[in-house]
């Protein structure tokens, strides 16, 4: 994005959304640290503490996620995650080429369209597949001793554990890229500021296509 053209502040992220984002950030970081300690990658809290903390935070996340799912469906915000191929190539071209040339972002953020096509697909995979898989596999892992009672004796702990580990690697990779990508705003901390205050500075309206809005009617 460039500072060319008119810039304006829009309120992009609701209070709940921001709270959710940072709460989840905290939970995931703790889960990654304790999880990889149990996995044997390093020693930090000690195995016992790592297990206790991991279990507690994991269950907390599971409950918290239910609130997020409720919010996203009741507010209709889920529409922001509907994947699209439109302008996908343009966005990819931008990050691979245009960004070095100082070109403007092909899909600027708008209140009703806060994710570009690439974000839509990535966040959809994250929120609808990766995180649920991680939570379900984690919950099963946690409930290992009850598998008999749950009628899940056929499950293999190894399979569940490996899926859970694979999920952790995927989330860690996501975080690496995500943390980097938020520095690609018109200033290094523009996106971070938006996720803290809710207000994002964006280029003027014109460049947003109608198709990007979650409702047919263009926001006035």
């Amino acid at each position: 994005m460039t500072t060319n053209g008119k810039m304006k502040n829009i309120y992009l992220y609701a209070r709940f959304e921001r709270l959710w984002h940072w709460l989840q950030t905290l939970l995931i970081i703790i889960l990654l640290l304790t999880g990889f300690e149990v996995h044997g990658a390093f020693a930090l809290f000690g195995f016992w503490n790592a297990v206790e903390v991991h279990n507690f935070v994991g269950l907390t996340w599971l409950i918290a996620f239910a609130f997020f799912a409720f919010w996203i469906f009741t507010t209709g915000e889920w529409r922001q995650y509907i994947p699209t191929t439109k302008k996908m190539l343009a966005v990819m071209r931008y990050y691979m080429y245009g960004i070095f040339r100082g070109e403007p972002h092909p899909v600027p953020k708008r209140k009703e369209a806060k994710h570009n096509p690439l974000q839509r697909i990535v966040y959809l995979i994250l929120a609808a597949i990766l995180l649920p898989v991680q939570m379900v596999s984690g919950f099963l892992y946690w409930g290992y001793n009850s598998w008999g009672n749950w009628g899940l004796s056929w499950l293999s702990l190894q399979v569940v554990a490996l899926i859970h580990t694979a999920g952790a690697f995927a989330i860690l990779s996501f975080i690496v890229v995500h943390v980097y990508m938020i520095t690609t705003g018109h200033t290094i901390f523009a996106h971070t500021r938006a996720m803290i205050t809710g207000w994002e500075e964006v280029a003027d309206e014109e460049s947003v296509g109608d198709w990007e809005y979650k409702t047919k009617a263009k926001a006035a």
């Binding site: 044997g40 016992w48 960004i99 070095f100 070109e103 190894q158 990779s173 980097y180 690609t184």
Partner: protein, 549 residues
């Protein structure tokens, strides 16, 4: 607008209030003088509360015990004159028969039967007199009266020796010898009047010396348990519960509970809540199967991991125990004479009559699946000498609901076997005809096998063997169990050899780890290159644009 704001602040107030109430409740709970200990501990404390037994009899006042005894049989008779059924009961127990099940004639497990080990190997059906010093009768044969004092006298004394001396002095007949005899008789009388339930010292006079010396056999049973500290054994510690052996090895009709060869110590893991007359032989008897604080992961280990595995981090913590015994090295002479050498513990590590031996202290157990049954090779069983012969080995597997991961001492041996008949051999050791006298294997093996009514081809060699002891004593205090990492570790897990199941922290897929860290590293390198690109193209090209302007 105003109404909305009021509603908002009301909501916030309510939430804050709710938080405050919950916080106060949590603080109140933490501050309450609640006994915060594991339920299994409370249960055990309840189950063992009345520690002081009361007595209705003072044995020093019994007329039958106030005489000068001249034989063991006479003394036994005095006991039986009141305890009319005691001897009959005792004759049926393994402590007397040295047979696991006298009715079972084929395999005939037991010291007096076909069982053997890799220490002194066999009692040659009790024909090796050296072994009989531990038989609870008078003298060194099995055909005598029961010596009640070995188990019941609270005075430490060599009763056999006392009787032999009394008889000897009385036979000499002179006044001085009579006086000597009377003195010993007085001591013996005092010991016979000093009667009680077996103390640690009584059981230990044999069980602490199994294998021919202090701590040789078990590793978790030696003289350090006569007066142990709480740190050595949290139950038996004299500064703690001060349990005697029979506190757990509960007894009925002189039958003392405990494992007998292939018979498990307990077939059901019942707590006293489920069965108030159950043997207290298992940990669960008093501590229940969910002994830890509710919600703790260890409660979810008890279905697969024996209590002993974590609560006995190592054995032989005070006295050393024998870890290996190589009979093949026996028979060496120095200047034509038998000799011995000592190791750093002051224990014999070489003896001409026994061979090479290795002692160790603070030994980490080996862990195996165990359902309470120890399978063993008998003198009649064919062996495969191409590998290590498992003379005794735990039975159990992961899929079996009764099996737990259990700690063991594994004693390595190298002992004679018949190359033609493919059986282990039972040399006679003590006495004139025994190996210890003449150091001639041929002779000792021939006599030994004959005593067992078993064939010997004359061709023998030595084979490596293993013999297991379940580790169950020397339970460390609750603050000194194994740490999780001792097992949940990639590099030096104590359970490294137990395969066939996934264990967090120990197991992982190398491929997944490689791919996973590869992806993370790849992402990192990718974004760094991208960042470098942005940096070199002067910050998203912003600067250049500005310059152009």
């Amino acid at each position: 607008m105003e109404i909305a704001e009021k509603k908002n602040s009301l909501c916030i107030c309510l939430v804050l209030l709710a938080c405050g109430v919950m916080l106060m409740a949590a603080v109140a709970e933490a501050a309450a003088p609640k006994e915060n200990q594991a339920p299994g501990r409370s249960m055990a404390q309840q189950a063992t509360k009345s520690k002081k037994l009361w007595r209705t009899s003072d044995h020093s006042k019994h007329k039958v015990l106030q005489k000068d005894f001249i034989s063991g049989a006479e003394l036994t008779q005095a006991c039986i004159s009141c305890h009319s059924e005691a001897e009959t009961q005792f004759h049926k127990t393994i402590h007397w028969t040295w047979l696991a099940d006298p009715a079972e004639k084929e395999r005939l497990y037991g010291k007096a039967g076909n069982s053997l080990n890799n220490f002194c190997i066999s009692t040659n059906k009790t024909k090796d007199a050296g072994c009989l010093s531990c038989h609870p009768g008078w003298g060194k044969t099995k055909e005598t009266a029961v010596n009640c004092l070995v188990c019941h006298s609270q005075t430490k004394m060599n009763f056999d020796e006392a009787i032999t001396d009394i008889k000897g002095f009385l036979a000499e007949g002179d006044d001085e010898s009579r006086e000597m005899a009377r003195e010993i008789q007085a001591e013996l009388r005092a010991a016979a009047q000093d009667i009680g339930l077996p103390a640690r010292q009584n059981c230990g006079s044999c069980h602490f010396y199994g294998g021919g010396g202090d701590g040789v056999k078990h590793g978790d049973l030696d003289t350090s348990l006569v007066k142990p500290s709480k740190t050595l054994d949290v139950h038996m510690g004299v500064d703690g519960q001060n349990f005697t052996c029979t506190r757990c090895h509960t007894t009925s009709l002189h039958n003392i509970s405990g494992r007998v060869y292939t018979q498990p110590a307990a077939t059901h893991r019942k707590s006293l809540v489920e069965d108030d007359l159950a043997n207290k032989i298992t940990c669960e008897s008093c501590h229940t199967s969910q002994p830890h604080k509710s919600g703790q992961k260890m409660n979810e280990h008890t279905d697969k991991v024996a209590c002993q595995s974590c609560h006995i981090p190592d054995f032989a913590r005070v006295n050393p125990t024998k870890m290996s015994w190589d009979w093949a090295k026996a028979g060496k002479l120095k200047d034509g004479k038998k000799f011995k050498t000592k190791d750093e513990f002051g224990k014999f590590d070489y003896m001409s009559i026994k061979g090479q031996m290795k002692w160790a202290k603070h030994v980490k157990p080996e862990y195996h699946w165990y359902n309470g049954v120890i399978k063993s090779v008998t003198a009649r069983d064919k062996i495969d000498p191409s590998g290590i012969v498992k003379v005794s080995w735990p039975e159990g597997e992961r899929q079996d609901a009764n099996s737990r991961i259990y700690p063991f001492k594994v004693h390595k041996g190298n002992q004679p076997y018949d190359k033609v008949n493919q059986t282990l051999l039972m040399p006679l050791l003590s006495g004139k005809q025994g190996y210890w006298n003449h150091l001639d294997w041929d002779k000792a093996l021939t006599v030994g096998q004959t005593s067992m009514d078993l064939p010997f081809s004359g061709e023998f060699d030595f084979v490596e063997t293993a013999y297991v002891f379940p580790i169950t004593h020397m339970v460390a205090p609750k603050d000194k169990p194994l740490s999780c990492r001792e097992c949940h570790s990639k590099t030096d897990s104590r359970l490294a050899d137990l395969k066939g199941f996934y264990m967090p922290g120990r197991d992982a897929s190398k491929l997944l780890n490689f791919a996973g860290w590869g992806a993370v590293l790849g992402s990192l390198i990718g974004v760094l290159i991208h960042a470098l690109g942005r940096f070199l193209s002067r910050g998203n090209g912003r600067n250049r644009k500005k310059e152009e302007e």
